[in-house]
Subunit: 256 residues, 2 copies
């Protein structure tokens, strides 16, 4: 059944972000078609996080108004041309990946003016559909990264989708986004791992981790984040992450 108001969405990838988005859009009255591996699809149907399960990307996007690529960065880039080819002309496309330059360049190369990169600033250390929740985006910033070629109507519709899940859209260029998240997200992720690893590597401290106060726990919370996904993110944003790490090292050398 097709919504009369252009509120039919395909979500490709139903992990923490895709699953939460499905739940949030359903709650906001959207009709949601989901695609993921079989067991995830079945779980999403059971949880009523999606209205329809699609067995392929082609099937998922065949009759929707918005397509959200919510797999890993590399997979999103691979799915982008497939989704664009199979989608109806009215559909706009976006993704929710943590790096924007690469996928936006891919869209530009293919003259996909109805694609706008996106990134909800609503991560979590948990992952997978089981961790998804409809209020993940409430009150959070959601970065949208159009470039010169982007169709303004596509951007407008994605702003609407972002607001529908309670998030606050903010527009940046893809390169600006990648630089900012290197400081605000990617380096913090590396620090969480390094801090926990350093404490565990010390033979005295490793036996006393249970005395850590709330600050240490807050600062290493992200260490539970999925490493394979993060390897992709860090590889895609290597240059900006290196520059941010250099800035961090300079800051560490300054007196307190």
């Amino acid at each position: 059944m097709r919504s009369r108001h252009g509120r039919r969405v395909a979500i490709v990838g139903l992990g923490l972000i895709g699953g939460s988005l499905a739940r949030a859009l359903k709650a906001a009255g959207w009709r949601v078609v989901g695609h993921d591996r079989g067991p995830v699809l079945r779980a999403a149907l059971r949880a009523r996080a999606i209205d329809e399960a699609a067995a392929s990307v082609d099937e998922a996007v065949a009759d929707v108004d918005v397509i959200v690529l919510a797999a890993s960065p590399t997979t999103n880039r691979r799915f982008l041309p497939l989704a664009a080819r199979a989608a109806p002309p009215r559909a706009v496309l976006t993704d929710v990946g943590s790096v924007k330059r690469a996928i936006c360049a891919e869209a530009r190369r293919r003259s996909l003016t109805r694609f706008v990169g996106g990134h909800p600033m609503a991560g979590r250390e948990t992952s997978g559909f089981a961790a998804s929740t409809p209020d993940l985006f409430r009150g959070r910033r959601w970065i949208l990264t159009p470039d010169r070629g982007t169709n303004p109507a596509a951007l407008r519709r994605l702003r609407g989708l972002v607001r529908d899940v309670g998030a606050r859209p903010i527009v940046m260029a893809p390169g600006e986004h990648d630089r900012v998240v290197a400081f605000l997200s990617h380096v913090p992720q590396l620090l969480a791992w390094a801090l926990l690893e350093a404490a565990r590597s010390d033979r005295v401290t490793s036996r006393r981790l249970d005395v850590a106060g709330p600050a240490f726990r807050d600062m290493t919370r992200l260490a539970k984040s999925p490493r394979p996904l993060w390897r992709e993110i860090l590889a895609e944003n290597r240059g900006e992450v290196r520059a941010a790490l250099a800035a961090l090292r300079r800051a560490m050398r300054r007196p307190v």
Copy 2:
């Protein structure tokens, strides 16, 4: 008025930790004598966080069962011999500072066998009496650092005080404590400052700090901690902090 059950305490320094301890011990039925500068004392009396205000360390400790030094590390070390000299023979002494080797060595040098170093793992980025709260220690670890010379009865009584405020006492040697907190508290504090400073130092990111997600905010929460106090802490624990930073740098070089 003297409690019959040995539950009269002097708290020297009524900042976040001392003030919270005063409130928590009052709530647990202790009689609390406080000492600090005049305006803080008056605020503590008004808030009923203390029963009596003492104009000097001598006056504060004159007739109590337990003395808690809750000023900065350097001030606590300076007050230790004064408090011990003015205190009744029955009184046991402790402190709540973030570094234990220096003050415990001072106590040993003076043969103060009724002193036991202490450190509640319950910090916060706020500071001062205004930030104090009676439940700061609830469920937290409270490290006690006796050494070979310590009177076992003094340790026993301090364990009781720690339990009275809802914390869980744990015993370590002073040197072990200093090594563990370098990893679990002092390096995290330095990272919080450096991470925020790095983001602020980048001309693009500094204009976009408002898009930070919850992880960045958690990881830089400590950046509000008072720098003068931390300068003392880091100087007192310089050696262990350097070693922990070296371990962190090694951990940062490892692949994700």
